[in-house]
């Protein structure tokens, strides 16, 4: 549905994106992840034909963005970073204007408007001026705008910014429900969002794609060791040394709160049973024992810090302490 080949965009001497290549299949939801200024918005602006690429080609639904912009624009629903709303119009006036710009008329227009108002819960504010609406409602009006002509491709630039947690969940559900029938590109710097809604993640940093895979495979790929967190109520002084002796344990870190140990173990070896047995037989007061998997957040931090290393396909230096401090626990692994 979307095919981006070797796209480069330069502003004078500054290169905003550098030979970006990726594609999105029909019905797929792709997250575009990256720190601010990484080139997410630039890529989206090229895809939506707002600006031309310096080099390379971008295609949407088989149409080239540079050569047939109108055909591309007809097939895209785009929500820019700032919701593009006219403050002096009411919600329904605005949606009617948007629909007419996209060639919807009469009954089709009314039906589309009713569908989006319903879908995004805009009913109560339909006849209010957009200028008087809260940030969350404006964002939803922006989304309604993008969805109005039921485009096969949706490009959403940080769609959940400024929403409250309940709304964020609703919008994520909405995006998930669009998967299958729509191809969606979604940019975000909120990592759980990418894990929650997307089948595939593209991590972009400094204008280059540094990784592209499913969220699970990305974290698996970057994991060099299993990590186990252990909390003891009555840890003796030599606990670290004794834990180190357990077969499979490579290193023991004690930097955290008192009684907390982080065990780094050989890949593919579960030491939890043995650690538990040692702790219980010695009456150390076992409080917690869990395996820690690397979250997308860690992957992201590593990739954006070590972009050169990844680009060359070399192994990353393990950063156990940094990873552990930001890691969240995953009880299933």
């Amino acid at each position: 549905m979307i095919d981006v080949q070797q796209v480069t965009k330069r502003y004078g001497h500054h290169t905003a994106i550098d030979r970006v290549t990726f594609s999105v299949a029909k019905g797929e939801v792709l997250a575009f992840l990256g720190p601010n200024g990484a080139g997410k918005t630039t890529t989206m602006r090229i895809l939506t034909c707002f600006m031309p690429a310096t080099e390379g080609t971008a295609q949407v639904a088989g149409f080239d963005c540079a050569e047939q912009p109108l055909e591309v624009k007809r097939r895209i629903g785009y929500l820019p970073e700032t919701p593009p709303v006219y403050q002096e119009l009411t919600v329904s006036e605005y949606l009617r204007f948007v629909g007419r710009l996209r060639g919807l008329i009469g009954g089709a227009l009314t039906a589309s408007m009713a569908r989006e108002v319903e879908r995004l819960g805009l009913g109560p504010v339909q006849h209010r001026l957009i200028g008087n609406l809260s940030r969350g409602y404006r964002q939803r009006v922006g989304l309604a705008q993008a969805l109005l002509h039921d485009p096969p491709v949706l490009i959403l630039d940080e769609p959940t910014v400024g929403l409250d947690p309940k709304q964020i969940i609703e919008i994520r559900e909405l995006i998930k429900s669009l998967a299958g029938s729509h191809s969606v590109i979604l940019s975000t710097h909120i990592l759980p969002e990418a894990t929650a809604v997307c089948q595939r993640v593209v991590i972009i940093s400094g204008g280059r794609i540094v990784a592209e895979d499913t969220p699970d495979r990305l974290s698996a790929r970057l994991r060099h060791s299993e990590k186990v967190s252990l909390t003891l109520a009555r840890a003796p002084r030599d606990a670290a040394a004794r834990l180190q002796q357990i077969a499979g344990v490579q290193q023991v870190h004690t930097g955290g709160p008192p009684g907390n140990f982080l065990l780094e173990c050989q890949l593919g070896r579960d030491v939890r049973e043995e650690v538990g047995r040692v702790a219980v037989t010695n009456d150390w007061g076992l409080v917690e024992l869990k395996s820690i998997s690397m979250t997308l957040e860690d992957v992201f931090l590593q990739l954006t810090r070590h972009e050169e290393g990844i680009a060359q396909g070399t192994q990353l230096a393990a950063e156990p302490v940094a990873a552990a401090s930001s890691a969240t626990t995953d009880s299933t692994s």
Partner: protein, 255 residues
């Protein structure tokens, strides 16, 4: 409904919910009304003078009222029209709706045409209201309607040109005040070129500069002279300004 009509509807709506049109319209009509009143009173005073001297008087309202009035309105338009046009593109860029417009399946021609047409319609509405002045006068006196009509044609063309220059200025910046001042400056330059042209006299350069200014073309129409040269001047200037706007808006995407 075509996209251009959708654009026009939206722009008109935006104009009429903001106070700008009402304020600008009120000021415009007040000044024009006041000027008309002054010229009529002046004509009346002249009539009385003639009556006392010759025992009878016939005054020419076309010369004494309408020609003066049309000359003065030109100046009023120069001041108020930039205020009407300043928001058209500058606001879109400021409020980030520009990106939305440019990614809508609507051509740049249609966007420029829609914006221009909307403000032109507002202007025509205001101009139409000044039509009450000759209509009221015609109830109490006789005058020749033909030069009044050509005067209105001149005002329409002049207004269209001013508005097109204003739209161009608005596309150049995202600051509305700057847009208003740029169009104000451009209009003044065009105005003063007439003075420069007459200063240079009957030389080739003088004629070219005089031709480029709207002054003599407008004067012909106010005097009741409809010449295709003048019409061509207004149409080509209008097209040129809208074309430049198109280029400027297009290039704004690249930066």
């Amino acid at each position: 409904m075509t996209p251009v009509r959708a654009m026009i509807t939206k722009e008109l709506r935006s104009y009429f919910v903001s106070p700008v049109v009402y304020v600008v319209g009120a000021v415009f009509l007040l000044i024009v009304g006041l000027l008309a009143y002054l010229y009529i009173v002046f004509a009346g005073a002249q009539a009385i003078q003639l009556l006392q001297m010759h025992g009878q008087a016939s005054i020419n309202l076309n010369d004494l009222v309408f020609r003066n009035l049309f000359s003065s309105i030109r100046f009023v338009l120069l001041i108020i029209l930039p205020i009407l046009t300043m928001r058209l593109f500058a606001e879109e860029r400021k409020l980030r709706t520009f990106e939305f417009l440019m990614t809508s399946p609507i051509g740049l021609n249609e966007i420029v045409a829609g914006k221009f047409m909307s403000v032109f319609l507002v202007f025509l509405g205001l101009l139409g209201l000044t039509g009450l002045i000759p209509l009221t006068l015609s109830l109490f006196s006789d005058f020749d309607w033909y030069p009044v009509m050509t005067g209105y044609l001149g005002l329409t063309l002049l207004g269209a040109l001013f508005l097109a220059i204003g739209v161009l200025a608005s596309a150049l910046t995202e600051n509305q005040i700057v847009a208003a001042f740029v169009s104000f400056g451009l209009l003044l330059v065009l105005w003063l070129m007439a003075g420069l042209g007459s200063l240079l006299g009957d030389t080739a350069a003088g004629q070219v500069i005089s031709y480029l200014s709207f002054m003599e073309h407008y004067d012909h129409l106010v005097r009741g002279l409809v010449d295709t040269t003048d019409l061509m001047y207004f149409f080509s200037a209008l097209v040129l300004m809208l074309f430049l706007t198109h280029r400027v808006v297009d290039s704004a995407r690249w930066r």
